[in-house]
Symmetry: D2
């Protein structure tokens, strides 16, 4: 399999699927089986002290993996997350966007599995690492 | 160890820690190593079709486990999640609150581990199952 | 769905599937969506000091979940594990059998999810907690 | 932190810790926060059809992560696994050794987290992906 959706097609598709807007994450780059997205900082994602909350990281990882998966299988809206495992590694930098890079490890007929590294913008060391499984409906 | 915080003490402590209000979840019951919380439905937690989003479930599980853990160790604000694993089992009922029951599996000097069952209000079958690990600072 | 394999049918089926014998675990009880198995202590499962090794616990959990799943769907030999998450909670007692109780959380057309509690024989507190997902072939 | 144990020191240390010999895995390479090991094929690791069993992969991942962690913190024998999450991605090749590459994602004072890719010898696509957490005793 190779890349079946372009950056523009994915950006438009995500905007349709997530009508609440950029708070789900912003697509930055897309390739064959991978995506990069960021989450703009926003009061609702922050904990006291200005660090990004855990659920905000999980939400970003989930969308980034969705984009990475759809880059391989096309706009299958009904792919759903069945498992998510996250290890929180470091405290994110205060008041800084977080960025996610998602990579597909396997796409089968029924399941897609991938991993996501999340970092504070401009930092090398990841703040969290996530693995996800999506169930892919017949398509 | 036995229960070291009452329901009222926990409710007040959570209100201090999560100043953004009830959107983090509402404490319903608390015991020795367990808690029950619910998440009132709210536009921001919903996906198209009216089902509760995955990140909203993860956020509720995280807080419910925090309350269950603190029922054993007291108001240790700086306990932080290090690992969360969630299996999504069924689609939540549309426009229905979700409820979480968290139970501690182990509390050690450094780590607390527990599991959380999440259901739509009034339903028996869980919509998700979560295991979490918290790191407990020296206290 | 209700229980579709009896204790005797399951014991015989597991013996066929695992020709290397009891080292995979011994079926003790079986119900509708649950199983109990134990692993007899054996030099190959022990670490220095006489405690049961982590991989021995994971192997027992995997088989116990397989039996719990097949109690619902029948002898589908080709069901395969896709995800396993284990939290190690306490040190097992030295030179003591471990017992596992597996319970199904969900059986769908494609995936079965369950959890397993592992304890040292005769002890209340679990030494490990495991969640597993099996992929179920068309049957 | 930088690498504090050489390849030779690690090989000798593992041989002491795992007196049952090569069945735990063979160290192939070691660097600053990473290790490569392989598991020689052996009847006890195989399932009918000649593929390597899931527990054999988990056991290899566990040891490879241990070596990667100790490359950073030295011969702390009592570091213990607290969480392991594995996604099984593909069927291993029949009658072929499996190789593991472990990389540390974070080493703190109390916890080390890493990930491991497992492949059949000579194949590019991983057969499994594992994340692990070790608890590090005071040292």
């Amino acid at each position: 399999m190779s890349q079946v959706m372009s950056f523009i097609e994915m950006r438009d598709f995500l905007a349709e699927q997530f009508p609440q807007g950029d708070q789900y994450g912003v697509l930055e780059a897309l390739g064959d089986g991978w995506s990069e997205m960021h989450l703009p900082i926003d009061e609702q994602h922050l904990r006291p002290g200005g660090t990004v909350s855990g659920p905000a990281m999980m939400a970003l990882a989930d969308v980034a993996m969705y984009a990475a998966l759809l880059s391989k299988i096309g706009p299958v809206a009904l792919a759903v997350t069945t498992n998510l495992n996250i290890n929180f590694l470091r405290k994110p930098k205060a008041n800084m966007d977080i960025v996610a890079r998602a990579e597909i490890l396997k796409v089968g007929k029924r399941l897609g599995v991938g991993e996501v590294y999340i970092s504070s913008r401009g930092e090398d060391d990841p703040v969290a690492h996530v693995t996800l499984t999506y169930s892919i409906p017949e398509h």
